[in-house]
């Protein structure tokens, strides 16, 4: 007498029904066909109308325009650019400017966010109230309002170059932007960078080795002197051998303007300040919520195990808080990058401003250009959300283990 359960029957038709129509079965299939027909009809209307409209307005279509000469200037570019370059190059100039302002904005926003969060969490009553007021004010004003405020009110009210506000005699702030010392590379630069890279790789290797030893054999190895040696010592040696990697050319006031140094355009300054203070206030709330989400008992349990306060924070509290902080923090970084498109309002040459703005008005090929611009942002956010789901999956796995 076998008591093994009988295999369920194959029921191919049922499975097919399920795969095609979901829980609703054939009714769902009919709904899908109707839905697809409506979508096809809308798509047909859109394409037909677009074709007629483009013909009547004499606008070319296709991506051929990307190889034409752009013929306009861009007031900040990270790669060499002049007005006889193609639209392709304009696209990359804009993209790089977007990346630049986003990266710098993210760095400052993170710093501001963590500092404000520390203030808000501080036991000191005055500091926590100041942090709270900052967050409430900055979060409740539109970002574009803040960008325009910095650009039209604050930066425009700065003095002319001759009366620049000097910061330690190296940075100068005036209504034409921020003048900073310009780094000039010396022969020692490449050995220095190489030494730094080697140092980082060796330090990471050491850390991996030490963790393996700890987890597999329970052996504690003190590696920090060697890590310090790699990260600081190697570059120092390279500097001793090959000389300074960089020198800074200080800006000097000559006549009505500055000679030497590099000028950061005011649009960039306004955009960075507004983006980083605005996103910083959101990050502060995220960090605060993350730290407060760790139960008080975790700290107590850590100290009852005999860990020092610093070790408890480093090994127990921060990893648990980071688990809560990282996903919303990433989406704030993404928001900052998307918000950098507001540059178009003050004329900072980012992707939207030079490509979806100037290039559209010159070529009239709105469909292709706006689709490309949207594609860039879409790609960025889809990549980020894919990375975040991998992160979430890993966290879930480690929690389940």
């Amino acid at each position: 007498m076998s008591i093994a359960p009988r295999k369920p029957p194959l029921q191919l038709a049922l499975r097919l029904k399920r795969a095609l129509g979901g829980k609703t079965g054939w009714k769902g299939v009919a709904a899908q066909i109707a839905f697809a027909a409506i979508l096809a009809w809308i798509a047909y209307e859109v394409v037909a109308n677009a074709r007629t409209n483009l013909e009547t307005q004499h606008i070319a279509s296709g991506f051929g325009f990307l190889n034409y000469n752009a013929g306009f200037d861009v007031n900040q570019s990270l790669i060499a650019y002049n007005n006889s370059d193609t639209y392709w190059r304009v696209f990359f100039v804009g993209l790089l400017n977007t990346v630049l302002v986003s990266v710098i904005g993210i760095v400052f926003a993170t710093a501001i966010g963590f500092i404000v969060a520390l203030c808000r969490l501080s036991p000191n009553g005055v500091l926590s109230r100041i942090g709270g007021i900052y967050v409430e004010i900055v979060r409740n004003l539109p970002l574009l309002f803040q960008i325009l405020f910095w650009y039209l009110a604050v930066l425009a009210a700065l003095p002319a170059p001759r009366q620049s506000i000097s910061i330690f005699g190296t940075f100068f702030l005036n209504n034409r932007g921020l003048i900073v010392p310009q780094p000039v590379s010396e022969p020692g630069l490449y050995p220095f960078l190489a030494a730094l890279a080697v140092g980082i790789v060796v330090a990471l290797g050491l850390r991996h080795f030490a963790r393996r030893a700890l987890f597999q054999r329970g052996q504690m190895i003190r590696i920090w002197p060697y890590v310090l040696g790699c990260l600081v010592g190697l570059p120092l040696i390279s500097m001793l051998v090959f000389g300074w990697p960089l020198t800074f050319e200080l800006p000097q006031l000559k006549g009505f303007n500055f000679a030497g140094g590099a000028r950061v355009i005011p649009e960039f300054v306004a955009l960075t300040v507004a983006l980083s203070t605005y996103t910083g206030s959101f990050i502060a709330e995220i960090v605060r919520a993350g730290v407060m989400s760790v139960h008080k008992g975790q700290m107590e349990a850590g100290s009852s195990l005999g860990l020092s306060r610093a070790a408890t924070l480093r090994l127990i509290v921060v990893p648990q808080a980071m688990r809560v902080i990282v996903p919303p923090l990433t989406s704030q970084y993404l928001n900052l990058t998307k918000n950098s498109s507001l540059a178009v309002a003050i004329g900072y040459p980012d992707l939207v401003s030079v490509f979806a703005g100037t290039a559209v008005s010159q070529t009239g090929q709105a469909i292709e250009i706006i689709a490309m611009t949207m594609g860039v942002y879409l790609l960025l956010s889809l990549t980020t959300s894919a990375l975040m789901s991998i992160y979430g999956w890993r966290i879930n796995r480690s929690m389940a283990a």
């Binding site: 129509g21 677009a50 005055v126 004003l141 039209l152 009110a153 706006i370």
Partner: protein
């Protein structure tokens, strides 16, 4: 007896009172525990107070003490004229106030804007107070009646027909489009490798167009008859009301249970009739005010309210679609939501401004404000879908299962059991979306609409008021408006959240 008294101790007097413990509550306690409990903390307190002092005092001086309150033009706000360092230039705000609130809306017609503001406030405030009854009627009025009334009030213009002629017109457009597609395919089949297939498909579509033409013929005939009568709007209205009420009566259960539905329908139509009569829509309505004349806070509020009202149905549909088990609908919803959430709003507005006009028939021009509204509605709808999806996920499974056990269909389960609970859970989320939408409306100033921020920026370029402090004054004023709205709404969202979580408080 004496032994006992000698060997034992009996207290003869009261114990002296101990000093009260250090106070840890109230202002003194706050001082002791949070401000001055250690040398480091004392230092931080002093630093914090200094920081506050150097920020608050100059701000107050600028806004109140050094401010100029009266004047005719820029000279009043110059240091030479005022005799002291000049702070805020309030006469500038007085001069530009109407522009910041109404834009260039004609002065004689501004009562229409004020009336719309009043109607909106009168419908919104009771909706926000959880104690007040009749939320269903109230939200119906706010979400359906107000937008239509506001359109005819703000924009003006009347109607030429009603339900019958609108339906007939739409169906005729559909029929022409189908027929056009069929003709195109037949033409295309002359120069294609899969000619027979295309020819058959094209002929089928043409046939479908002809069939639709004859199917809707009674309707178009009725439309023409009604339009030829002496009172086209009213005759059309009566026919529509009769037909819709009758259909609802039958659907509602006929003589048995349909009475209530019938009364509701008739009351709604009576309300619509009163609206048409009051605004004189059958006689051309109010004079038309072109949307290019709208501006300031009016545009900001119109975009924010339309955005939130239009995004609700879009969001509900997308959220349900994303949870659906039908593959195509789920995939479409996911793609739609992720696409619009993945791009910045400004590119959406560019899309709506530059691309959308290319997608509609050439003879059909889309108003600039309407383009921005469409972009904002789609964008907010995608975000709203995610908010509502959170609410749908929060409704316990057992609710839907119990409803199916009672024999309710999917539509009834969703609309009567699941959605009402889900929407209650996400009220804070909806308010938060509204806050970010309200802030995002400022972006329309980039596509040449003059909202509050756009009007403010335009007013800076007026040479009659160009002083060193004009920009700061303008930003202070507009910032105050934005802050009051956003801060108020965020407090309201906290209030609702606490109410919803009342059972979890301890």
């Amino acid at each position: 007896m004496t032994d006992i008294s000698a060997s034992s101790f009996v207290r003869q007097d009261l114990v002296a009172e101990r000093a009260a413990p250090a106070k840890t509550t109230g202002f003194i306690g706050f001082l002791r525990t949070r401000l001055l409990n250690s040398p480091g903390n004392i230092l931080l307190t002093i630093l914090g107070l200094l920081l506050a002092w150097y920020l608050i005092i100059p701000a107050l001086r600028f806004l109140l003490v050094d401010a100029v309150w009266t004047g005719k033009d820029r000279t009043a706000c110059l240091t030479e004229k005022a005799g002291h360092e000049v702070g805020a230039c309030w006469p500038y705000i007085q001069a530009k106030l109407t522009q910041l609130i109404y834009g260039f809306y004609p002065e004689a017609q501004r009562w229409r804007v004020n009336l719309t503001y009043g109607l909106g406030a009168a419908l919104l405030l009771p909706l926000l107070m959880p104690r007040l009854p009749a939320k269903g009627v109230n939200s119906g009025l706010f979400f359906f009646a107000l937008p239509v009334v506001a359109f005819f009030l703000l924009h003006g213009g009347g109607i030429a027909g009603f339900g019958v002629s609108w339906t007939a017109g739409l169906l005729q457009l559909f029929e022409q489009s189908i027929g056009g597609a069929g003709d195109l395919l037949v033409n295309l089949s002359k120069s294609s490798a899969i000619a027979p297939l295309l020819w058959v498909l094209g002929k089928l579509l043409v046939l479908a167009g002809v069939v639709i033409h004859w199917l809707i013929y009674p309707l178009t005939w009725l439309r023409d008859l009604l339009q030829a009568s002496s009172l086209p709007v009213w005759s059309d209205f009566v026919v529509t009301a009769a037909v819709v009420s009758a259909v609802l009566f039958v659907l509602g259960g006929g003589m048995r249970t349909g009475g209530k539905v019938l009364i509701g329908s008739l009351l709604t139509f009576a309300g619509i009739a009163v609206g048409i009569k009051l605004m004189g829509l059958d006689r051309g309505g109010f004079p038309i005010v072109d949307t290019r004349l709208w501006g300031g806070l009016l545009v900001t509020l119109v975009i924010a309210i339309t955005g939130i009202v239009a995004s609700m149905p879009i969001g509900i549909a997308l959220a349900l679609g994303r949870r659906s088990s039908i593959p195509l609908i789920r995939i479409f919803s996911i793609a739609f939501i992720e696409f619009w959430r993945g791009v910045p709003l400004i590119t959406v507005l560019f899309f709506a401004t530059y691309m959308l006009p290319l997608f509609v028939p050439g003879n059909f021009s889309v108003d600039g404000l309407l383009r921005a509204l469409i972009g904002v509605a789609i964008f907010t709808g995608a975000y709203m879908a995610e908010v509502i999806r959170g609410g749908l996920a929060a409704v316990a499974r057992g609710q839907a299962e119990a409803a199916s056990a009672l024999g309710l269909s999917w539509w009834k389960t969703t609309s009567l059991i699941v959605l009402p609970q889900a929407l209650r859970y996400v009220i804070p989320g909806i308010v938060n979306s509204f806050i970010s939408l309200f802030k995002d409306t400022s972006l329309v100033s980039i596509v040449a609409l003059f909202d509050l921020l756009g009007s403010l920026r335009a007013s800076f370029s007026d040479p009659a008021w160009s002083t060193p402090t004009t920009a700061f004054t303008g930003f202070a004023f507009a910032g105050l408006i934005y802050f009051v709205f956003c801060f108020g709404m965020s407090r309201y969202s906290l209030f609702v959240e606490n109410r919803l979580n009342a059972h979890r408080r301890h």
